[in-house]
């Protein structure tokens, strides 16, 4: 009996030694590895002892400030919740998103390029002070964009086409980042996805709004001119299938300018097949499709536009038959685009064919008031020749003056744009408007998308664009 008991004791010893070995493994060998896991939110609590830098709007008002409670700094939002999906949340339990995550090192003063004082603090082991981040969002415009979306699902993105500065980025439904802990369980279950940053993460069928891209490729390659004549019979038969017009309309003879004004599918399908798959897709790539737009956001919070298959973004070289090309030229088929990308399409046309790199970071100011980083507008893509951009500009003015986009027209300001209405097959539409203003010297470009609506892009999206553009152009200063 004693021998057996000794053996059982030895087994116990072995088990306990295994515990100690495993503890050593976790607490010493792999300790840093565990610290570095993205699921590990423990460092957030330590960082919440640091006075976090403010996120400041373009007009100098505070979008996200801090409030100190029992030794920890919490975010507060003195001017209401502005662009919470882009600005992001900062939660001790659920981590961070958006700009809060992207610029965390700067906001917590841990970045290595925050000036001499910060560097000295670090050497002396002092708790760093966060730097303030000034963004290009203009609160007055952002507020109107959010109001316009209230009660609906969708997104509005407004940029300066000449610099790429993001002036407004609204996503609906929205949420309150101030009380995230209490809402989290509901928010992650909500099928209307309030946490999703629709302008950069929402992938939508672009519909007729994409016709700007098709037209651009057609004009740029010389395959069509604004005056090229077409005849619409209501149906374009191709490769064993057919392309029809929205609402079953028949337009008869039309030129290319009128085809964009009235959004004639059959004409764009024909142009698409004249271009062929390669030139059509290349035209889209010139506007930035198939690339993740270079707006600095955490991985997954900004996605590329293009043709999507079951496993995500398809290669630009993926096979398309002529019927696919015909529908893709009308913005259907497997095409998906983010509102940001569609705003950049309008911006490319507005800026004489050059798409600027989108950005939201105006400047970083250290706690000592030193500006350590300032926005430098850069060109991103050359989308078209200047002449093509001019022609498209005129054609898009026509859309607002005499076509599907009349609801976007403004008194005394020439707006140019293009509507889109993608039928979802369940009786609801996806309504689009993309455009820019003033057409002769564009200051802003915009994309509006409304989900689950009974109306068309001209009815549901164009008036919202008009309201936001009007507010933006009335601002004393834009980035």
């Amino acid at each position: 009996m004693n021998k057996a008991m000794s053996k059982v004791f030895i087994v116990s010893v072995v088990l306990f030694v295994a515990l100690v070995v495993n503890l050593t493994w976790i607490m010493v060998v792999r300790a840093q590895w565990f610290q570095d896991r993205p699921q590990n939110k423990r460092s957030i609590a330590k960082e919440m002892k640091i006075k976090r830098g403010d996120i400041i709007g373009y007009d100098g008002s505070v979008i996200a400030g801090t409030e100190r409670r029992s030794g920890y700094y919490y975010r507060d939002y003195p001017n209401g919740t502005l662009a919470p999906q882009l600005v992001g949340y900062d939660s001790i339990r659920y981590g961070r998103s958006g700009i809060e995550a992207q610029l965390n090192d700067e906001l917590t003063g841990q970045s290595s390029d925050l000036g001499v004082q910060n560097w000295v603090d670090k050497l002396l082991g002092r708790r760093p002070k966060g730097a303030n981040v000034k963004v290009t969002l203009v609160p007055a415009v952002q507020k109107v964009a959010q109001q316009q979306l209230q009660g609906q699902k969708g997104a509005i993105v407004l940029l300066d086409p000449k610099t790429g500065a993001l002036i407004a980025s609204a996503s609906a439904p929205t949420y309150d980042p101030a009380n995230l802990e209490d809402q989290w369980a509901r928010l992650i279950k909500d099928t209307s996805a309030p946490l999703l940053n629709r302008p950069t993460q929402g992938l939508y069928v672009p519909g007729s709004a994409f016709k700007v891209v098709t037209a651009s490729a057609g004009l740029d390659t010389g395959k069509v001119t604004p005056d090229t004549q077409f005849v619409d019979t209501g149906t374009y038969v191709v490769f064993g299938g057919k392309v029809t017009n929205y609402g079953g309309e028949v337009y008869g003879p039309n030129n290319f300018t009128y085809a964009l004004t009235a959004s004639i599918n059959t004409t764009f399908a024909k142009v698409g097949n004249t271009l062929g798959r390669k030139r059509l897709i290349a035209g889209a790539q010139q506007y930035g499709f198939y690339q993740t737009p270079p707006l600095p956001l955490p991985a997954g919070e900004i996605v590329a536009s293009g043709r999507y298959g079951k496993k995500g973004l398809l290669s630009p070289d993926a096979f398309m038959d002529p019927l696919d090309v015909a529908w893709a030229a009308c913005g259907q088929e497997k095409l998906l685009a983010t509102p940001l990308q569609m705003a950049l399409v309008a911006g490319g046309v507005a800026n004489g064919g050059r798409v600027m790199k989108p950005y939201y970071l105006q400047e970083i100011v250290t706690s000592e008031g030193q500006v350590v980083s300032k926005a430098q507008p850069e060109q991103w893509q050359v989308a078209t020749k200047a002449l093509t951009a001019d022609q498209l500009n005129t054609m898009m003015q026509n859309v607002v003056n005499a076509g599907t986009g009349t609801a976007a027209a403004l008194e005394g300001i020439q707006v140019a744009g293009k509507t889109g209405t993608a039928e979802k097959g369940d009786g609801t539409n996806l309504a689009w408007f993309i455009g820019f203003a003033p057409a002769e010297d564009p200051q802003v470009c915009i994309a509006v998308v409304i989900e689950d609506t009974q109306s068309t892009g001209g009815e549901a999206a164009a008036p919202l664009a008009a309201a936001v553009i009007k507010t933006a152009l009335a601002q004393p200063a834009l980035p």
């Binding site: 004693n2 057996a4 306990f16 610290q35």
Partner: protein, 440 residues
Amino acid sequence: MSRRNLELGFLVLAGAVSTMAYVSVYTGRFREINRISIIYGLVFVGIFVLLHLLERIFLPQADPFLLPITALLAAIGLTEIFRIKPSLALVQGQWLLVGAGLFVLTVLIVRDHMKLDRYRYLIGAVGLALLVATIVIGTTINGAKLWIHAFGFSIQPSEFAKLAIVIFLAGYLDDKKVMLSVPQRHVLGVPVPAFKYFGPLLVMWVLSLAMLVFMKDFGMALLFMSIFVGLMYMATARVVYVVAGAGLFAAAGAIAVYIVPHVQDRFEVWLNPWPYASTTGYQLLQSLFTIADGGVVGAGFGRGYLLFPDRTPVVPDLQTDFIFTAVANEMGLLGAAGIVLVYLLFVWRGFRIAVYAPDGFSKLLAAGLATAFAIQTFIIIGGVTRLIPLTGITLPFVSYGGSSITANLMLVALLLMVSNRTNIIRGGSDLERRKLAEKG
């Protein structure tokens, strides 16, 4: 030095360590220091001084290590619970008082553990009844059915059933060990003892399986199976029981993984917690992060990051199943490994008592209790560190929980009684021998 004076010395040592821990928590959260906390510490010291005095009178030759270890672990537990949620420490302190009362009653009523052997079937039946009652009228908390609500308290009967089953098995196996060691016939070349001796043990196996399926509790099932297999082996020295027991339990475990979703979740999370980081694997991963954060020396009692700013624990159930996580975070590897070694010291004393005991029943009783204690400790520390699948079971003396601390104090009382009897028979004074004889 006499055993009791040695014990007193160790108790003073444990008291010194505990006081430092308390002071560290207080200074870490100085805003909360108050008179009640000090009275509290004095009550704690008082309890163990009384238990020590009780031993001086009734168990003069009992092992001098067990009570100081108990005091040290209970003090660390109370300190950590106080640090996590002060109001719970007050409740736990009351449970410690109840446990101490049961300790005293066990010593005074039982007097000599040899008496227990006479009532083994009754005790075994009570243990069985407790488990069956849990299955029938128990309440499910955190997916496992372990609690009975009665008289305004939540009782975890399996903690007490553990003691009853060990007493029963020690008596039963001591009686039948010869029969069980001699195979009556062979099945496929494997020696098998007669069914009538083997039968009750099959009942035990079915019981473990039932615990797994109905109580959905892998930990308790594993604990009971280990007690049972361990005692079978120690009684008969036949490895075949270990192999058969392990095989049967593995089979039962495999079945449970397939048919009990709660057990399945735990198993999947154990294999790979990362995909479940925000759902079923949240608790385990937060535990690992919290332990890893402890480093070599830890931040010190009251100084680790264990609570969110709203004072909820960073790991759900931190004060109960995950108390070791809290200790490891604040005391570091040195402290965590130290605690494991303190548990091992307890287990060593348990087996030492068993080896020196003069009779089979005493041997099996002490060894069974030591095995139960060792396995329970291993299951929960291994669980929160992802060495084995996580299962809700308390860390003896440290975890928050009334049933656990009272049952384990009774376990200590039983071990002390066995060691007292052994030491008196092996070298006590005539007076002590006479007293012992009177008890029986």
